[in-house]
Amino acid sequence: MLSIKLVPRPQPSKSMVYLSPLLAIGLMLVFGLIVFMFLGQNPVTAFHAFFIEPVNDLYGLGELLIKASPLALIALGLAVGFRANIWNIGAEGQLILGTIAAGGVALWFYESDSVFVLPLMFIAGALGGMAWAAIPAFLRTRFNTNEILVSLMLVYVAGMVLSWLIHGPWRDPDGFGFPQSRMFSDSALLPLIIEGTRAHAGIFITLLALIVTTIFFRWGLLAFQMRVAGLAPKAAGYAGFNSQYTVWIGLLAGGAAAGLAGASEAAGPFGQLDMAASVTGYGFAAIIVAFVGRLHPVGILFASLLMALLYLGGESAQVNLALPSAVSKVFQGLLLFFLLATDVLIHFRLQFGSSNAAARKAGAL
């Protein structure tokens, strides 16, 4: 009988660190094809509809960019915390707060056509996201409270705050009672950057974040201290690194990024506050992006494009294959499963052998 055993490697495999995401993507595609076949779809047609159709024109590529941009931005912020084992999984709530804060500025300066409205929206968005992330940071550092559960609970609270605002005080006075704010004026909308697409200037913020995090991870002493604190808290303590800082910065970075992404969504594709449009699930999807991207800026960039393609593929599958668009979330979950599963190969190698041979060997000895 053939047996497969996991044998510990003496050293973690460097190449597997980079190969396992590719392996995971491959496994996800194979598994996806099998699922499509089970659903009675022609795998080639389904594959085309899911992965090629959405991006075979300029408009599609623009859509890819505007979905990848917030995913990458949030994932970059989360990576700062994840590298230090700070588990901020409430980015979705921080994103909603960013949307609320930026939207509040846009509505407050509704009459204004000043060029300062947009920058102010982004500052408000970042602060909103940071304020929401500061709650788990404060409770963790002051009261030792688990940041996973607190940040997650605050996602639901943030959703309720938004719901209250658009049902109540911020509801569009001319909106026939629909639960949404009025449309922002032009001064609160991001300019489009590519003719014929919806791609907007929010992408530049993501690029800026990419540069900042690259420098921070590569040369920042703080990033190094945080990494040590994450890998070996005791060693960090002996070295005199302040673990409170790690928690605060880990959470605030994710909050700021998610808040900026929320502001960018409000000032970009939506142009108003609206429940369905503002609750995108990007905050959760970005967790997958961060992991698939190996918590590395360049990896995150590629992972965000892949995840954005999965979103678009889901929408295209709904139109072209009459499949529920939730199929993209299934793929996203599968991708993370496969990645976590293949990661075992970083620390272990597979040993193939038949148990008969092993038995014979044992007998000979």
Partner: protein, 309 residues
Amino acid sequence: MNTETLILILAATVAAAVPLIFAALGELVVEKSGVLNLGVEGMMIVGAISGFIVAHETGFLWLGVLAGAGAGVLMAFIFGIITLTLMANQVATGLALTIFGIGLSAFIGQNYSSVALDGLDKINLVGLSDLPIIGKLLFSYDPLVYLALLMFPLISWFLYRSRSGLILRALGESPASAHALGYSVIKIRYLAVLFGGAMAGIGGAYLSLAYTPLWSEGMTAGRGWIALALVVFATWRPGRVLLGAFLFGGMTIAQFHAQGLGIEIPAQFLTMLPYLATIVVLVLISRNANTIRLNAPASLGQAFHKEVH
């Protein structure tokens, strides 16, 4: 408030506590074995939709409950393969399970969101159910409520009075010692994880088959996460899990009655209550670092490989 309303509120509190009791007691057993499965929300919601589909297609509600448990077990099995066999990070895998579960339930439940179902019938014991006050308060629930309440003494007995329970707890404290004594750490942890999956699945099925007999996307609404918080709040003790579940059940029900009592608060702020309360109780219980350190299973969340340890 008259007696009738009060009884109504108390009975509703018990019903609202049931999904939390199932999910949190299941997770308690899992965590006692040293495994942290953050995928409770995902297992619950897949249990909810699976139970609903099977009950709707076959017409047998109890088959739906079984399907819910089965779906929870399958989800837990995925978690087991990745964290126990392949030794991946339990936090990340649990998150993945929740994200996957929410997506999968929306995917397979697409055509069931406007379908009606007659929920589980409440028991009707001749004589007992008609008693004044006590009849409504004790003898008028559907059978799953009694199953949930029965799980409490069963699990308490298993954990603290049975030999297997002792082994399970020992494993959670020191897997290496348990391994040295000849117990299969991985196998026992698998059993615990699968049990937790079944319980979360039943908790989810209770929502879609009895509590509000319908399917709507995301209907678990964070109950899986609240169940996880309950285990911490209970400092890993079954009795306190039960108490906490009733507390949160009451919180969920309070929001429906607050407006009836003339409290003028927007509905959204009342809906926030259980989530905010979760944060508050977590803060209260974690404030003293020793409380958590002394009560949490020592190996909670750590992978085990017999050749590495």
